[in-house]
Amino acid sequence: MDHLEKMRTLFARAMESTHSGFYRNLYRGLPVDPGFPHTLFEWESLPLLSKAIISAAPFQQRIFIPTNEVGMIRFTSGTTKSGIAAIPRRKMAFEPAHARLMPVSRYMGFLVPHGIYDNYAEHTAVCIGGDSARLDASAALASRMRIEGIAGPPGVLIAFASHLAAQYDISHIRHICVQADTTTKLQRAALARLYPNATDIVSCYTSVEFQGKCSISPFPPDPRHTDALQSHPDMYFECVDADGVVQKGVSAKGELVATTLYDAAFPLLRYKTGDEAEMLGNGRFLITGRTLGGRIRFEAGVLLVEELERVITLVTGGMAADFEATVGEILVADRPTLTLSLALLVPAIYTRGVDVALVGKQIEDTLRVSEQRTYAEAVARGACMPLVCTLESLDYGLGRKRRRLFDAREQ
């Protein structure tokens, strides 16, 4: 079955009245017939999908299958009810994503919630779930399992390193599958340093909608080109410019758009990944950056990640090269309820013996959102959200609303 035929099947299913109305609403008014798309040109006329569009839809619409066909449902958010995915009962369509990427006999995954490993029927490795809320216990279990690979979000894997190293010879970790769309290059470098024997650190793309599975499959790196990613047969990739026009041919550059052609609970049709890509031909492409760049947007203006990094490095005495910035609803010390805040995760290994609350205050006072105003002053005026500096990752199983703030910082 070629891509076009898979697209027809997928599109027909998306438009079935027995399914959620998400795609029917998205495609309302389009001149489509039962055989759509007849050509790739027709396919490229479909509106692009984004995370914002998905997030705006009620969660029921994102369960893309009739309730009576629900096979398994996974939930990822305790506060917003937004991260819900359902898997069709009639066909378990899990992507054995990590399995393909992890040529190891034992690994621990934080990326996927408990239970998913059982679906990797063809996977011969022992897969065990990590609990990001209990990293020390997970490290103990991992050490007993003598794991050789790990998978998960970068913040968790960075934090996990110290727990694991305390109980295990961390040089056994040879392979890391990291959640690519939340990983900065600095974090990737930190992973390489913290797991010195991990010669294979590969990218895995997920959607926040489906933390239970890889909605956008990972791509095994092409050995002939270490930076290139190889598309999966069940994926279709396009490259579009800022106006959404498809850029074709070798060396085409633009934003990566992905379509999941397999029978997923909520297939992504023409989903903008937020990656800047360069197509190399033969299904290979390079990720060259993130479309948002290293920017944090505030009501008060734009904060450059470089400036944030400069201040953190200054305040911590040059130690904090690796940090993760997120926006999330978290408990701030002097506020009674969850507050939308800018959270800076600075790994403990860089701030040992330092009062992180003090570091956070110093950052607020030093960081400038404009020539006239420091970050602390902007917070006081309500133009910026509170800044919290932490040693531990703020989310991952704690039920807090969290979303990625900025993307890969370009080096």
Binding site: T67, S77, G115, T124, A137, L141
Partner: protein, 227 residues
């Protein structure tokens, strides 16, 4: 070295699931990995399914226990939809209680009270049954007609359990899983796995008496005195 109860096991086979030997995630030095075969069913899932006939069951577990893996595998075995969620996120499936018609909830005892409160708040008319998982050292704290307790030797391995009749009778009565051989001397209960010797012996420090008759389901049961 602290342990919930003496436990000896051996080996593992390719394809096995691995679970921790304890429910206690605060004791990393004592944590070991226990192999459980995917072929070994979580038999009480199907037992309660057969009697209660839910259309969908939710599993609410701490990720550390690996119970989600066992749960979902069991659910697929009986061909029933399952909703699996981490304990910290239990509000989500409960919020969907009515739209998804969740008829049963499997969870740890520590989450039971909060879960029942959430269910009562979200859908006062909903009456899912609760399958409550206890560690070998825990005792039931709440009894009820539709609250079925079971003691797991390790997460996912049921040793003692309640049918609906025993659950209605009281919290101290359990059936013994017939997957194991049981011995007792009045103060301890020893269990062994005669099938393949992977799970060799465990001792439950309980006082109990064996009742051969009395449960309407026809199975013998034990009356645990110090639960």
């Amino acid at each position: 070295m602290r342990s919930e109860f003496p436990l000896i096991w051996s080996g593992g086979r390719p394809g096995d699931d691995y679970v921790p030997n304890t429910f206690d995630a605060t004791a990393p030095p004592t944590i070991e990995a226990v192999p459980l075969s995917k072929d070994e069913p979580w038999e009480t899932i199907s037992l309660h399914y057969q009697t209660m006939q839910p259309s969908l069951i939710a599993g609410i577990f701490p990720a550390f226990t690996q119970l989600g893996t066992r749960f979902e595998h069991s659910m697929r075995t009986i061909g029933l939809p399952a909703a699996t969620v981490a304990e910290e996120q239990m509000r989500v499936p409960i919020a969907l209680l009515e739209s998804l018609a969740i008829g049963g909830i499997v969870l740890r005892q520590g989450a039971l009270q909060r879960c029942r409160e959430e269910v009562a708040r979200v859908s006062p008319t909903a009456a899912p049954y609760y399958q409550v998982i206890l560690s070998p050292t825990e005792a039931p704290t709440v009894v009820g007609e539709h609250i079925f307790h079971e003691i797991h030797l390790v997460p996912g391995m049921v040793g003692l359990f309640q049918c609906q009749h025993l659950a209605a009778e009281g919290k101290g009565m359990f059936h013994l899983s017939d997957r194991f051989s049981w011995k007792h001397d009045g103060s301890t209960l020893m269990v062994s796995d005669p099938a393949d010797k992977r799970f060799l012996k465990a001792i439950l420090p309980r006082r109990f008496a064996v009742e051969d008759t009395g449960c309407p389901c026809g199975e013998s049961f034990i009356r645990v005195k110090h639960l």
